[in-house]
Amino acid sequence: MPNNELVEVLDLDQYKYDFRTDDKPVFRTEPGLSEDVVHAISAHKEEPEWMLEFRLKAYQLYLRKPMPTWGADLSDLENVLDQIYYYVRPQDRMKNSWEDVPDNIKTTFDKLGIPEAEQKVLAGVGAQYESEMVYHSLKKEWDEQGVIFDSIEDGLKNHPDIFRKYFASVIPPADNKFAALNSAVWSGGSFVYVPPGVHLDTPLQAYFRVNQERMGQFERTLIIIDEGAQAHYIEGCTAPVYSTESFHSGVIEIVVAKNARFRYTTIQNWSNNMYNLVTQRALVNERGTMEWLDGNLGSKATMKYPSCYLVGEEAHGSILSIAYAGDGQHQDTGGKVVHAASHTTSSIVSKSISKGTGRSSYRGLCKVYEGSTSARSNVECDALLINDTARTDTYPYIEIEEQSANVGHEATVSKIGDEQLFYLMSRGMSEEEAMALIVRGFIEPIAKQLPLEYAVELNRLIEIEMEGSVG
């Protein structure tokens, strides 16, 4: 099971929300970050002493760690970090009014055909999700099976033992600057525990947790899939999340026990003022399987590399990711697989699309430790450029200490060409329709893995993005 030391030894790296209304008074910390702010957050949440200490230690680590300079341009970020509120009680964040939501966001909502009530939730001005009924019947089912699906705060409160055993065991605060920051100020996120042998057919969807803290600026999610259990967790949605905040730094830790199987699906579409720096990692034990399905759209800069640490024999990790970089956006994404046991296997398939002045970078690591005999890994990254101004780069890091390992890497860059467009247009499609279809074809190997409603929305979103791409 999780093994702090092991994780530290393997340490390598680097890197929305929801609302409820009630009548409690507004609570938020002062702008900027200090030890006092950390104290205030912990006190407000009525946390046990150990968590306060954990936060304070993490805060010190955060101060000491330098800003990463190897990925997206974060030079403006220091300013942002001085000004933001590190904690706003979720129910108090909802001060946006519908009138303040930018027109382009509203237009996109309309085009996606999202009902108005739901639009308001997405835009941070609504309160309820209609799926409360669905949630309650599922909740009953989960309770009967011993499945815990709670907010991270309730996880800490109601399940202190399991929580403490696993919390920060996969991603210690020292992992990277933003993991340290998140550890100091985390708030919101999910806590999931699936007991041994339980197979969940219905995906755990974050939005089912109505009226609970869901995604925060510093969301923290901890998921434990115990021996032989199986589950699928879905987070996010393809509709743009409108937020007045400009920084999101989550930590998502997952433990996949022996023979367990887990898939984490997330699609996020941030408004383009957002820095999105997320650390997400799974520790995969003997014959366990972890699958990341990760979609990144929007934001100003995203740095996100879902990773699988394969620490048990025959563990398998798979990372499928799609990134879309529109004008002025930089998606620095990819994946990491670390093979630390024999006969472990992994695959990364990454597809990026860049349009206008957008830039996407694939950054991937495949590391095979000595003694991980017969480890196998395959990486495939494909970039599609919509026009000449778009840019893409590939940074594959491959570190292999084991002779018997078998590692493959393949990268392609393609551009939507005149011949291809002409072919589609000669069948009656406008240039925009043609582009959208080509892009949809490009991401189809990943899109077909998505839950249907997500795939449909993603396709629709690509159509919207391609409108006005012709000039």
Partner: protein
Amino acid sequence: MSDDAILTIEALKADVAAEELGILKALDLQVCKGEVHAIMGPNGSGKSTLAKVLMGHPGYRPTSGRALFDGSDLLAMEPHDRARAGMFLAFQYPVEVPGVSIANFLRTSMQSRLKEGDDLDLFDFQDLLLDRMKLLEMEPSFAERSVNDGFSGGEKKRNEILQMAVLKPKLVLMDETDSGLDIDALKVVASGVNTLRQEDPDMAIVLITHYQRILDYITPDVVHVMVDGRIVRSGGPEVALWLEEEGYASWREAEEQAAAI
């Protein structure tokens, strides 16, 4: 000019977009509804260029002359408007569209022809697609494959004809559809084309080919011989037979002599 004309080309000159090569040299052609015209000519004579200029390929530009399609100024239209108006080009070298199934590709093509706000009836579409595949002796699973992705030469050509059969154009430009097809596949394609002509007797065909062979199955009303960007001779099917025997060389010689005078 005939009232029945679907395509009228007058003194059309055309070039590649970026250079002055003078590929098409004052070309005239009139195709009436329901007619089959064969254009034959040696490699490099400008046959594909003509087809692409007519379809609006951005890599080529007409430099003078004009072309009317069903009464409209063809050269002023965008490629997709030409398609929607009823023109279809069966490509000599069809393009791959990875990840997009033939069914999806055709559905999107059909949808794009509808008025804004109208939705294609998916059941009707499915019926049509299956019916057309049967006509062309194709397995239904073929429609699930990504467009031209990893197709053999013959499969690509058959896919072009399938698209034509689904989209039901008024005028078809077939650019060397026969090359790459074995004789059995050629017969299937030809009989498919003939069935489409029966279904729509007004459908006209411009059949670009190298060989007489396909003309045994799709009988042309007029055969044109194209050399160096010009139509140098037009006539009945006998022209094709004659050409088969004599080859193109004598035409070139005749051309050169004429030019020298």
